[in-house]
Symmetry: C2
Subunit: 450 residues, 2 copies
């Protein structure tokens, strides 16, 4: 007999018809976004760069938000529901009594969960007459997702890509171009922000902060253009809850419920995507599930940051958000998990951390790649360096369960594959990987807002 | 309402429990492998490099060969059954009345169908006490699959990788190493064949022919070592029929049966994998399905080759096989679809071509990449350059159906994704892609065997 329950069902009925919005369930109200002078940023101000329906989702207190049928159809076409798999070989290799399940988002066309919100954002923009989207991208994972979403909905997409990545990491750039997006190295001559920098320093390598500034300026100046963001904001996180809602139905089909839910955190979108639908149960007293959020020691916003108002970008162009932050001027060491090199974390996730519902942990990249390589050799999938943080924490939880002889059920989010991030594995295998973490965190320059 | 039937079921019961062996159903008997003197190669001789159970499968006349339960379990764990998807957006973009379905093997961990036979070969080798496998690889797709299969079954794997690829295309090499395989640039100092070449020319860039010679020599000289091949042979093709057997069940669940079945052909394994279970029906008079096999004009074995006895490798180390060939000394122009740069084609497929059951067509790589980019922008998946040949033929069949206003059902094999082959897309997008095809085919040097 073949072992049962290695794959949960992936039928159309697994796909949810509503997203889950955690806002009405948070243990305390979400502090509003503010301007540097302390005034609250109005929805109207946000509509300068986002379409109205996404601004409405951003502040909505509706618990369940319907997923439009056209969008559900495209989710199905592009590979949702994604697999929920049992890592039986990993369990055996660890000799743990724990069961380990993972939700695998890497089967989606751009190789990660990012497409879930990219499609939703493109859909609503299309509906409201937007013709063109701008965004920034570092290594290109988010840019690839938005490029594909633009192709699906007939929207033009311009991606401001950090120049050094544009030149040194051509692969995701080619992916974006194959999907028909315009990719420009940032700083670019297309914006004032870019021109100002290029005048002073024509060889400026760029930064995510500069790219955000350019993408926002472009959206502000062109009436048919809106800006699109890949994490942190509430509407982004709620689009990602499709991951956890699917996982819940899939585990249910296997007769399972997780005792521990694990994910990696950069801005928080893949973590929220998997965890929030399960946190929903815990907030109602219906489960005692533990929630572990994993960040790199190189950018330890949850484990070493403060809960403060800070800008979302390096340049200080965005509204101020109250969140765990190590400061927007902080430049994280160049770890391979580029998607986790972020100074802040989603405001909703920050509140859950403050209230002891989500437990943050931080790991070094050498131990991350060791875990990821072990996972590849047992389960066959090479994890994205970001997702590898979740793999490491899942292995630790399984070993802890072994020590205590507890038959717990672990669920983690394998949010993407690492086929376009192989340099990190090469460095690990050749013994060239180095760890780094900030000595001290300086937040003295942040505005004093409560 | 969400549109129904965009995804066929992927439940465990879709996975077959037997492979289909076409040998007993061929319209004429398969000519035996021969030595250069014309003598027939005995099973005993094949057992020097392959385990007995695979040699038995190679010559078996059993129609259905049981898939061992342990192997079925690993297929499930690594992502089988793979998705069968309807390309509705592509249909709409083409304005065709045809329905287009594709089987997508790219969700498997190494990104293509190759793992299907790699796992089976590793399984039988393990069972018979083999401790170590050798193989050759060009760009690395087959080597990656065998590396992972070795990791799954605790076998050491040494991959002889063509030196120029080893140095210039590090990505798949890192994949193999991440899975724990030993990858050596070929020509290597580990074999007589390699040393002989290195003595004359220390900078020899290598070739697939040299790498095969080294891998076979290594297996012959080490008693615990066997050799593993990724296409052409009957046991390899029959392992791949899992693709078509799944597709049949999945289409049945949607109430469909294909009028046209399309796939790309290098050695023939992904094509046979999808098509043979449907050819089974046609050979019984139960369908009139058309079968289209697509090759590159740069290596036109089926469309311009002759049906002759020829070696499987450039160096002439393998037995002679009767097949469509453009000659083992032919060096195809350097197209991006490296997996289709092969001078021959599987002997069983050759017989089906001879009997008019399979219709071969050949395309230029510029039109291949044009079709693949169109597919990426409509369906979201960037095809491997090899698989893109099937995409092009499916589009042509759909346009033909449009012209005749025929509501036919098209099925093709999207055997892999192109995320590790982005250079071809870059060249296409930048207008740098060039076509090339042989002016004439010279087979005068082939042995005269009937």
């Amino acid at each position: 007999m073949v072992i049962q329950g290695l794959r949960a069902p992936q039928t159309e009925d697994i796909l949810p018809d509503k997203w889950y919005n955690i806002l009405p369930d948070l243990p305390e109200p979400l502090p509003p976004p503010r301007n540097p002078d302390g005034s609250i940023v109005s929805p109207k101000e946000l509509e300068a760069i986002f379409p109205r329906s996404l601004v409405e989702q951003e502040i909505s207190t509706e618990r369940w938000i319907e997923i439009p049928e056209e969008l559900r159809t495209i989710y199905l076409e592009l590979g949702r529901p994604t697999p929920l798999l049992r890592a039986r070989r990993l369990e055996e290799a660890l000799g743990t009594p724990a069961k380990i399940y993972f939700k695998y988002e890497g089967v989606l066309p751009t190789g990660s969960h990012k497409i879930n919100t990219a499609l939703a954002q493109a859909y609503y923009n299309k509906l409201e007459g937007t013709k063109r989207l701008t965004t920034e991208t570092g290594a290109g994972q988010w840019g690839s997702a938005l490029a594909l979403a633009g192709a699906m909905f007939g929207l033009k997409v311009r991606v401001y890509m950090v120049r050094v990545s544009y030149e040194q990491k051509p692969y995701r750039r080619i992916v974006m171009q194959t999907y028909g997006a315009e990719v420009v190295p940032s700083p670019s001559p297309y914006t004032e922000a870019g021109r100002r920098i290029l005048e002073q320093d024509p060889d400026n390598p760029g930064s995510l902060g500069i790219a955000i500034s350019e993408a926002i300026e472009d959206a502000l100046k062109n009436p048919d253009t809106k800006y699109s963001l890949g994490s942190v904001l509430n509407h982004v996180l709620l689009h990602q809850t499709i991951i956890g809602l699917e996982a819940k139905r899939q585990l249910e089909a296997l007769g399972e419920y997780p005792d521990v839910v694990i994910g990696a955190v950069g801005g928080g979108s893949n973590y929220a995507g998997l965890a929030y639908p399960f946190i929903y149960d815990r907030l109602r007293g219906k489960s005692e599930t533990r929630f572990i959020a994993v960040e790199p020691r190189a950018a330890p916003s949850m484990t070493r940051g403060e809960y403060r108002y800070d800008f979302g970008d390096t340049a200080g162009m965005t509204p101020l958000l109250k969140m765990h932050t190590i400061g927007h001027r902080f430049v994280p060491p160049p770890i391979h998990a580029g998607g986790l090199r972020y100074h802040g974390v989603a405001p909703t996730l920050s509140i859950l951390v403050n209230n002891g519902i989500v437990e943050p942990v931080a790991y070094r990249q050498t131990e991350i790649f060791e875990a990821a390589t072990f996972f590849a050799r047992t389960e066959g999938i090479i994890p994205a360096p970001e997702s590898a943080h979740a793999v490491k924490a899942a292995i630790d939880a399984a070993l802890e369960a072994k020590k205590r002889n507890e038959k717990i059920t672990i669920l983690f989010n394998l949010s993407g594959h690492g086929l376009l991030d192989l340099k990190g594995y090469q460095d690990y295998l050749e013994g060239k990987l180095r760890d780094a973490e900030p000595e001290k965190i300086d937040l003295s320059y942040l505005p004093k807002l409560e």
